[in-house]
Amino acid sequence: MTGILWGALGGSTTFAVLAALGDMVSAEVRDRLDHLPHAILRLAARWLDPDQRVTVYEDEWLPELTYILRGDEARPVTRLYHGTRYAVGILVSVRRIACHVHRPAPEPVTAEAVERFVSVITEMQSLMRRIRSTEVAFDVARSEHAAARACPDPQWPELQRTEALVNGYLEILSLLREEEDRLDRLIYDEFGYVRG
């Protein structure tokens, strides 16, 4: 008799725990699914200019999506369907939307900005010439080093000299490449251009 009572107690406890777990899992899934339309919309907003993000994403899309997800018809499946459909539609057409949405007029180009641009480009051109001539010198040194290695012992000093030259040019090239990267980043950050 006691066994039956314990069994019933155990069964009802297990049932209560499982029911609570089911509710928790259901709430967790519902919460995560609610984030899906927002995530899609955030992805779409990446295609907008920073200024457009305020007028279009924050002022228009986001409040509309919130309304859809919290509106009167906001049953879990319905809101997920409407919210996701809304967000996906915007994601696929975001480029067309961005084309028509007002963009603030670009700031007028000043003489100082032009001068700075010309100066940076000139610096880059000069650097490219130095890289090219160093590459040529490096190729010559490498050929001489290969020839020296093929020679017998009396040529040993020549081998050392050419090896030092090859290593020297390699170091110079590495420094020049670092400088090239720095200028590339500067040209992109300041003027929005990349070298083709």
Binding site: D59, E60, L62, P63, E64, T66, Y67, I68, R70, H82, R85, Y86, A87, V88, G89, I90, V92, S93, R96, I97, C99, H100, V101, H102
Partner: protein, 110 residues
Amino acid sequence: MQDLDITPKMAAVLKVFLEDPDQPRYGFELMKLTGMASGSLYPMLARLEAAGWLARGKEDIDPRAAGRPARTNYTITGAAVSAARIQLAELSERFRPPVPGRLRPAGGTA
């Protein structure tokens, strides 16, 4: 206000605005009324606004009381009302099926 080539989808949107020109319309509401997806509707709204046919406004609610941010709405501009009516009439005329010819007795000649 710029001239626009009105497409049938655009006509469906303008028709909703013309039903009550003073009534602000919301994106999701327009989607339901026209049956259009957001992917078609929003580029069109942006185009109509850029051309000066629609004006953008803000929903008149207290966000804290409503528990959500105020939505953006659109209203048709005064100049666009008459232009839209004319364009819709022209579009309707273009797509109107031809009137069948007059009946005549079989074998006869009008």
